[in-house]
Symmetry: D2
Subunit: 453 residues, 4 copies
């Protein structure tokens, strides 16, 4: 999971600080590393680092730079590969000049591509997906960079949203299934690409449109041009990631034309109708991810919504790791239910999803300690039963609570009086996109590959 | 404004990590510096630093320490005195042994006390209030430490909640008016004092009771003993800070017996009745401080509550300082209204208070840019018209929006269709404490001193 | 052991950077912490930190400041008290205004003074000698600061060289025995005090003279004034530290009128005469402390001098702590003898002193591994048999090699073919001061106190 | 200019800390960055950073690692390319597995090689020489790594000393002219390669021999094997860098069989004979680089040698950058002449070389300020008249003092009473290698390329 952002100023304004702000708005998509690359004197300059954006990149130093063409990246890196070499954007010089790539997604045929590239002499200095794209382009150095990029993308399987920095242009590309979101914005002659529209808002840009599945958008001094990885008519089969609407994206983003907030609230409303909690005194969301669905649930069930579980605002800034001595305090460090609201009450708790069930178990137990009479857990998405193959970090199948237990077993494990999920139909309807345009593989197990066979 | 926390384990368990966690729960009371002091081999050891708790103190190193008696402090330090010498707890050795003090509040006769102490030979190495208390005790070195502390507190005017670390005891004290909150908790033989009950929750302690106004609680190997700065019967005139309920405290804290969440929601409810917004499509709170009052407002006015203004979760971790180039983007970095919720709608926006009015103005303007038809601003406390003399950092009188403008002028300035405040009566009623027990000086101008004359 | 430096510009030039440079020249006198204090807007401002000067104080930030009156300090702090509170200068405000003190030396009646001060209400926030001086002055707040300082110094026993910063003056003082060096310099209307004259050189100042034993020099807008701790005629009994000439001071310093370089070379010359090494092929010094004596030894014995043991120039910058795996490599990390020079040769190795004998043993062994035929060790000072009571950190008596072993035993332990020391008479003669003016207590055991009884 | 070090333990002992120590001994060859790479679980792991070794690499963390095959690098990086990507060793995976390279030298046909490699699809992620070698090997992925390395080296023109880390072996290689030094050592079953023998000393290893010009040494589980870049008989034309003997190497190193100390002292001796200074009272070296030649000069001229210019031992650790205010103090920060030695004397000052002449000018002026009667400057190498093409960072031709001025002009500029250089013949004789085996291009302008045409 990553956030990408790019800016190209046709009016030659410096865009470095705006790229920084854009990444800042996308920080929720990746907190483990951040990087910004830009064109300076005909080659790529970069600032990259581990940690949150402000740890990774010194904003003040950046603001000193000047560049009208730049891209940036925030990334969730699994711990084991959290090395500086793997921080994106990746950049290089090749026969056709400087290049840098920021990538959100997962190339599913990476091993095969790597083997082929190495056979032809490629050396891999990182373990990133993006380096393979660089090599594919470099090994077609007789082509123009854009053509080489199109050629490379045609060889890639899996998911991608890309921002590619070339000497005189900025390229955005989205895989033919549209797994990963990518939008195009503009403000006073400067063009932007971003994983989510909330990053356009922060720089005051207008959302022009989504980059279309299978589309390659080239921005340069001549304006905006559109190419295709695959002809549009062959991109009818879309697979927009439904988990973006459930959890990943910020609620103030609009993805493929749908407001994430509206989708999430509708999930809550439909959950209330499918699985009501009659007589509940209050509805509370698990902060922050369950809050909006909880509002929808409360509205549809005409039950008072309360911010009844308080999240320490400083969590995440500090990554407190309790030592063994206080391990049992666990989730209390992050979340605290308000006794005055729960005491003697029947509560409906809404969360966006259950992965391993550990957090749910602790929260239910904490709420019971507050003297709640009944605690009913409602999940605003279907059970997660399958791993994601396209870039969302869900756990291995055998760690998924819904795989390992029946609904009743899981309900008992988390200690709730009742437990229910949203149906796939309701999820699809809540997002408001046709069923065939939404990837629900993690819920349904219907993977693109299986289907296409 | 500060947060204080102390722990004394009668069963000789080490408490350093719990003090760290307690401060973590109180981080909202002060982000500029943090410190922890404990007794080790008969003298005081300390870790202190600038910034958020995790920047100021290395949690891992701390966890290596061993101490069953410790206090900690988080502090809002005005920038000009943000020097390491001023970070609390302050500690010293004097004729009666080691001592450290953590202090929340403001000594109003500090200048006079300092003069007297210096005349008798005191040297001041910091510009903290707490150093004066140390000197008062030291200049009565013929007395037992506890007696010297009582004697010192009797000479102090103003507000204080104190945690004092002595070689074999932990002392908590609260000024006779009870301006500043202070609670007492216990868990398996370890006693805790804390500015707010949410810090007891994080260490799994039970809230025993508030330290009473004018009370001095001494915890040592023999148990808990209570002394008085001033006889209880003379502490009838209480002045609990009403701003704690409005803004300062965490909603999951219970202060002087009242749930902060309940008080805040009731402020919203009463605001809805006093100043309704008929025909509003939605009620939204200014995050995070206006959210709970907005829920109350929405419930009382039977209008849908929405989390319609999104706060960047990473704000504060990063202190992004936009340079001139992007200055106009301003408050967008922190807050983003959701267009889908506001477009063509009539919105009631609830905030906890208005100080200078700048943020309100920007937010209203942002919401209008989303296409809102009408924006009505409701403030869940009375106009702030007077500076606080007891430790809350409100601006100088002439910067206060409500001082400089009439209600109409302010409404026009912020660009709202209407603007209204909560009344003092409603504030008092919402908190649920008798009027005479609540300090509302910043709203009413009724200061303790004026009254006592 | 410490280095102190102060500057007062009568022509109101800013002196902060010069104090920084002065400390830089005195870095050899203390590497564990550094601090600078100056008068700014009528009170003391300070920068202090642990480590070498450039780690402790950000030179660039300092250069931004403005002050024409400032003092600084570099310090050897024993590890156990290496806390930020103990970094000098210590500063405070007291009844007579701001004050800061930098101190080199050891107050021998500190415990008694502390007891008295605490009885009168003093609180000790550090474990430094200097804080007691502040308290003595503060408890005489009816006196002018200078008078209070004189009064305080009269109560102190032990050694001191002081730089005291007052609001409108800079004071330098030296104990009546002149244990610790202190010089006075001037350049274009700015006056300087420094532990050693090499620090005057770095700022281009002229050495005016030594501060005299028992003298208090006050520099202010009216010029330079001299007071006395004790009348000059009562300061006939001087005790200049002979170890300054042997080891502590930089060779380019002039202390009490004697060139340290010349003294050290003369020690080598006299050592050659007292204890020659006939037939030696080369003379080498143990770098860096034995080098100059070795040159003298070589010149007097007409034997070639060689830089035959190479010291890694980066030692000290890095404090490499080999783990167990490479512990046996030991002293090789720091020193490396040159095989080409030692192979088949008879070598005389000159060092300034032997404390525990461990380093000598390793070096001799390394030189033998180079194939040296004979290794003769010559020490350019008498055996260290007694601990220093006045501020030099020599080890406890029972760790001193010369205490624990006879000359023969020690010679065998270090593995040398012969071993000899300089005599006390020669040491005194080499320094060139009358015997009665030189403290040789660490060699002779003749302490001031014993004598005065 | 760089230092390289590698270790392969045939007895499977971990070597990481020894590589760290080896680099520590080579720190004088490069202070701008440092890196260590090792094989771990079949791939390359690395620690790299900017600055001195101890800043660049956390020694403690390193010591936790385990690897019996590792290489390291310290580097002088010109400021403009001081980016983390350029810190060596460079590492990658290619079709034949993991690889890392540490390189000292300069590839003179790099531009041409890069062009060819890019044409065949290479992407360059750094601006290092070494990356080209990786690509050359990768583009011959049908060959065994060793064979591909040999093939690559045959295409390289210029200078190199290499340590190459492969999955199961360590390879050392030296260019056919032997420009750059490289030695082979052994200790208890562990083999080492190092730029200089002083790095073998620090780990207690025995110097086996120099890697021969044109030789490729392969160390693996089967022992040590020798290959050739070019047949030995074609390596008769050697070009050992004479500047290594003059300045670069540590005096305790043995390079191509010659002790650097002995060579430097002999330069001094020959300089004394060629250009005596009759009647001089003392000979002093410019620290540290002129010291050993000064000893030789003093011995040959029977004039006393003195350490008469003191170098601040902490220089370099601190990189003090005086601001404008104290700029005039200049070189005093680093060096201080001892007045007592120079006053009224005739002094011969020996330095290793003159590049721009600025430092010489300041030193002569400082010595005159000490009251010296006469100052005669002697340079222990010939005038530097030509830039180095093989990796020594000498300035551009038009900044070289000896190019811009006649001897007389330069003498006047630096303010000396007389100035003279060593002759090329004497330099060659002092090193003790046949003239045709020594590169003296920077003195003579006789470049290899010109000769070979």
């Amino acid at each position: 999971m990553s956030g990408i952002f790019g800016a190209y100023s046709a009016v030659k304004k410096t865009v470095l600080e705006e790229v920084y702000l854009g990444l800042y708005a996308l920080q929720h998509r990746g907190q483990e590393s951040a990087g910004i690359s830009w064109i300076q004197d005909g080659s790529v300059a970069s600032k990259r680092g581990l940690g949150l954006l402000h740890n990774a990149i010194d904003q003040k130093r950046l603001a000193d730079g000047e560049a009208y063409n730049a891209i940036g990246h925030v990334r969730y890196v699994p711990l084991e590969s959290s090395r500086l070499q793997n921080v994106l954007p990746i950049s290089a010089n090749y026969a056709r000049g400087p290049i840098a790539i920021a990538h959100d997604g997962l190339i599913t045929n990476l091993a095969e591509l790597t083997r082929q590239l190495e056979q032809r002499g490629a050396i891999f200095q990182s373990s990133t997906n993006s380096e393979a794209i660089l090599h594919m382009m470099a090994q077609k150095s007789h082509m123009q960079p854009i053509d080489a990029l199109v050629d490379a993308l045609r060889r890639i399987e899996g998911s991608y949203a890309l921002a590619v920095l070339l000497e005189n242009s900025l390229v955005a590309a989205r895989d033919p299934y549209g797994f990963k979101p990518l939008v195009l914005g503009e403000r006073e002659g400067t063009y932007y690409v971003a994983s989510e529209s909330c990053a356009l808002d922060i720089v005051g840009a207008t959302l022009l449109r989504d980059v279309e599945p299978g589309e390659i958008v080239v921005v340069n001094g001549k304006g905006v041009k559109s190419l295709r990885v695959r002809p549009e008519e062959k991109c009818r089969r879309l697979m927009h990631c439904s988990f973006e609407y459930v959890y990943t994206a910020r609620p103030d983003s609009i993805i493929d034309g749908r407001s994430v907030y509206e989708a999430r609230k509708e999930m809550g409303r439909r959950l209330a109708r499918k699985s009501p909690c009659p007589g509940a005194d209050l509805v509370a969301g698990m902060p922050d991810s369950g809050t909006i669905a909880a509002i929808g649930y409360a509205q549809a069930s005409k039950t008072p919504f309360e911010m009844a579980v308080v999240r320490n605002r400083y969590v995440g800034r500090t990554f407190i790791q309790p030592t063994q001595k206080v391990r049992e305090l666990g989730v209390k460090i992050k979340l605290n239910p308000i006794e005055a609201l729960f005491k003697g009450k029947k509560a409906a708790i809404v969360d966006d999803s259950i992965v391993r069930g550990t957090t749910a178990e602790r929260i239910v137990s904490m709420i019971r300690s507050c003297g709640a009479e009944e605690v009913h857990l409602r999940i605003a998405s279907p059970p997660v039963l399958h791993p994601c193959r396209y870039g969302i970090d869900t756990r291995k199948e055998n760690t998924l609570a819904a795989v390992r237990m029946t609904l009743d077993e899981l309900c008992r494990k988390v200690g709730a009086d009742s437990l229910d999920y949203l149906s796939e139909e309701d999820l699809t309807a809540a997002v408001g996109l046709p069923e065939e345009k939404l990837c629900t593989a993690c819920f349904s197990g219907k993977y693109l590959e299986d289907e296409e066979k």
